[in-house]
Assembly symmetry: C2
């Protein structure tokens, strides 16, 4: 028999330390734990039992919040798309430039998002292991392309760029930024001895140049 005081302090410790996660926010704790596993150990190491361990719950607990592993991966992907959807307009806030400048800033922001959140980008576009037919995922994944189309149409209305099909132009910009993003985070552009900071500056400068070239070429 333990003294009451011991039971009490254990209860308090549970409430203060171990339990905060379990008061209705285990779902988000699992998403955060999953992202952490992904960042620290890579996609092949992402498994529900490890995520549960990191979150400090039993291996069966995640099933109270996600029907299966795919659903957790899908949730992480949705979180990534939401972050990206926030990052693009944020880059747009500089009021001094042309619409072309804004599109260039959005392109650079896409690349920077990928460099800063490689685990998210890999899950978002890795494709496998996630529920592609999830309606929330589908809706949010369309944001980037729509954002580009909108701004391309603005630039066309003001005469800054030519009248080529706006969706085609948006696809081309997206493809170029996406390619830079993935090749950079996969290390395919790594020059021997080049520092990360230098590579980032180099890649973003190239990416911006690409945006302007593509916009110029779509007439």
């Amino acid at each position: 028999m333990l003294p009451v005081s011991t039971l009490l302090s254990e209860n308090m410790a549970r409430k203060a330390d171990a339990r905060p996660y379990h008061h209705g926010d285990l779902k988000n704790a699992l998403i955060a734990a999953g992202l952490r596993v992904l960042t620290e150990q890579g996609v092949p190491a992402l498994n529900l039992r490890e995520v549960a361990r990191v979150a400090g719950v039993s291996h069966a607990a995640p099933y109270r919040h996600f029907p299966d592993k795919q659903a957790l991966i899908t949730a992480i992907a949705i979180e990534g798309f939401e972050m990206l959807a926030a990052a693009l307009p944020a880059a747009d806030s500089a009021p001094h430039g042309s619409t072309i400048d804004r599109l260039a800033a959005a392109g650079v922001a896409y690349l920077c998002f990928a460099i800063d959140n490689p685990a998210h980008i890999r899950i978002m576009f890795g494709g496998d292991g996630m529920r592609r037919d999830d309606p929330a995922l589908y809706a949010i994944s369309k944001f980037g392309l729509e954002y580009l189309v909108t701004h391309i149409q603005i630039a066309q209305a003001t005469g800054e760029i030519g009248q080529a099909d706006a969706l085609d132009t948006a696809k081309s910009l997206w493809a170029a930024m996406h390619g830079f993003a993935l090749l950079v985070i996969e290390g395919q552009f790594r020059a021997p001895g080049e520092a990360d900071v230098a590579m980032r500056a180099h890649a973003t400068a190239l990416a911006e140049r690409c945006v302007r070239s593509i916009l110029h070429g779509m007439r």
Copy 2:
């Protein structure tokens, strides 16, 4: 007791049907089986036991030819890079065009390779699950960029394009083609009701236009 004739015919059947794989070519049979699993069931379903099943051997047999699962994945990736390295010069063989035309053809060939071999492209650039430090993989993965640099330098020498850094230009072309390739095979460009054939034609036309815009912009 079975009659001798039955035993004989069973032995012959083994030699003719089940055994040909096992005479020194199980390694390649496993690579082929792995690619098949990948194509038919996707990356998450790629496991050594299923590959062994498809190849018709016991689950331990692959370990005679590959130290671990990573090594099989790496072998499939190397095969993909070799196929790509063959496809780029093949697109180059039309002798009627300018060097810019050849670069455009190489870009389109890259995209077509990806559309025709999505399982390979995913493994080649999926990154995770493969031995990145494999020397053979590293060597062959550099081919594409070097191919572009070489042809860009030729175009610069003949005055077809400007004198911007050839490696930067090559990276930009690669990024744009890579982005088209991945977004197309992930279905991100899919328009409702658009046929695959139409999408392929549409994407390749856009990609070619991008190559020309980027080359034009790099001065």
